[in-house]
Symmetry: C2
Subunit: 334 residues, 2 copies
């Protein structure tokens, strides 16, 4: 049977005009601590609960981005947002007070790329002028929802990743200044048969491979066409699997590859096992570290590939495996 190829969308008219990131204490103590716009002093950030704190992360991130862009809510046309919480409440509770038209998305940790891709489609086609992409994740709200109550003190396995307490927000328009979103490839759900709740990297590597391969093919590019191929968040285990999958095709991407899950923490110094994860991980790293470098021209062209493990405790308890997905967004200085 032949398989669906999908399309890679091309954009001539979509810029990321401003962006911002807000992170938790642990992320603020990591190697990129000085690049974030705001660092919470504790994981609750003056709220009563972790879930409310996560909602605040999104609110603050979007507010910072709007302040930088000198935009008030009535000048915004649309928000794409999502997060890991059930019913995506980080987004709905965090962003409701802006009263901006809102489209919720769910792509697990691939959410920020999904939001950027959709925002680029909408801006490039002229449906909207200013469109935002916002996502978050929170270590404490995610652990108790997906794995164990934190008080239980469960031992974490070496393959487990640390959900970043972080949010990122970007505002897109057609301002014709860098960074530009030039292309995007939507991922297909890939099920590698992984059933281990603590091995998300392995569940996502196949999806990343599929999306990156199709993006290369549709755009006539190869690893050397990009200064960096940024994944978020395969962690160490998933990154190694990705290299192996490409090696079978005789393609080496290791030299050009960086993973947000491996960048956000200092794994020697911080006890995060296989690296960071969560929608907020790559969102905050894109907004804190990468977008500014593409704007300045230090990076000419990057491929951002956010990967999501569509993991459901309910389905895993019923013996189901964990499907993965990855969406790619090509971001360029020119």
């Amino acid at each position: 049977m032949s398989v669906c190829e999908g399309k890679t969308f091309k954009f001539s008219n979509a810029s990321i005009s401003e962006w911002a990131s807000v992170v938790g204490k642990v992320e603020g103590e990591g190697p990129h601590g000085d690049e974030f716009d705001e660092i919470l002093q504790d994981n609750k950030g003056d709220m009563d609960t972790w879930e409310q704190a996560e909602a605040q992360l999104q609110k603050k991130a979007l507010q910072h981005a709007m302040d930088k862009a000198k935009l008030c809510p009535e000048k915004m046309d649309l928000i794409f947002a999502g997060d890991l919480l059930n019913q995506c409440t980080g987004s709905s509770y965090g962003l409701k007070d802006f009263y901006i038209p809102f489209l919720g998305v769910y792509g697990a940790c691939s959410t920020f790329a999904e939001c950027l891709l959709l925002a680029a489609c909408m801006v490039n086609a002229g449906y909207v002028d200013n469109c935002s992409a916002v996502t978050s994740s929170h270590f404490s709200s995610a652990e108790r929802q997906f794995r164990f109550p934190l008080n239980y003190g469960g031992v974490r396995t070496p393959t487990s990743q640390w959900t970043a307490t972080a949010a990122g927000a970007a505002i897109l328009n057609s301002a014709l200044k860098p960074p530009y979103i030039r292309a995007g490839t939507v991922g297909k759900i890939q099920d590698m048969g992984i059933t281990d709740l603590n091995n998300m990297g392995a569940a996502m590597a196949g999806a990343a491979y599929d999306t990156i391969s199709r993006h290369f093919k549709h755009t006539g590019t190869h690893p050397e066409s990009y200064d960096v191929i940024v994944t978020g968040d395969l962690g160490q285990v998933g990154s190694d699997m990705l290299y192996e999958l490409f090696q079978r095709d005789g393609v080496s991407i290791k030299e050009r590859h960086q993973d947000c899950g491996l960048l956000i923490y200092d794994r020697e110094r911080q006890d995060v096992h296989a690296g960071g994860s969560g929608c907020g991980c790559s969102a905050s790293m894109m907004c804190a570290h990468f977008l500014g470098r593409v704007k300045s021209g230090e990076l000419k062209r990057i491929l951002y590939v956010a990967t999501g493990a569509l993991m459901s405790p309910t389905m895993v308890q019923q013996g189901g495996s964990i499907p993965g997905i990855a969406h790619a967004v090509e971001i360029s200085h020119t």
Copy 2:
């Protein structure tokens, strides 16, 4: 403070080419039982669990729609899908075996309108040729996730709605035959301060009012411009609130209004309290009842407004209220 107006998107080039619906036994015994493409004989539909059964609903609905459109998966370019299950597993597990590029969305019961709206944007702008919108809900999987385990036998309140066991799938392209999607208005999150898990209609009425009002304003239309204004799913309580909100503006929409939650069941004969709900409710009613009538010209122009209660048991337990959202899609014979 002035408030964000948002934009109403106009489409000249987006048709709904085929559609299909699959429902459970109770829905099949309702007044529209003979209009659905397939009726499951029991709520598990040959699967082991309700969640797996819900995933099957989506799979079957999309397969029926693709069969009618004579399309194989490799001719499909994109799916927008979502559902009520945590991590939207009805969609990811149900649709993964098609290997079609997939963008997950979350809008609670507004999901089908959100999917149609985004699919129309993508087709109209020429990004894709064939794009599908798919959603589902399942009474049993939803009850245990959002309220109580079914075995507990909790008494249902009069304001509670019955989550429909149902899925709908539509395929959009630019075939230039009716029904056409002519316009769409994205909803803003509205929080009316409702904290009662069993009163979703009230939580959504304000959102429906806001979106419909803005759609009227942006398109220069009024209730009489439409043969029907179809909401999904306000139920009886929410519908009455919607009439009241419009009456304050001197606008009467009751004569033109129908609610999928009130249509799908026979409330005299079936014990469903305030009516049906769930993403699958309006999705299946659109696909079974309304789209064919717009195609034939029996209905010239309808406004489909799917409403979602962005309700999280976690947030409600923490004292939070239930925000609502509604997205509008204008569907026309010409």
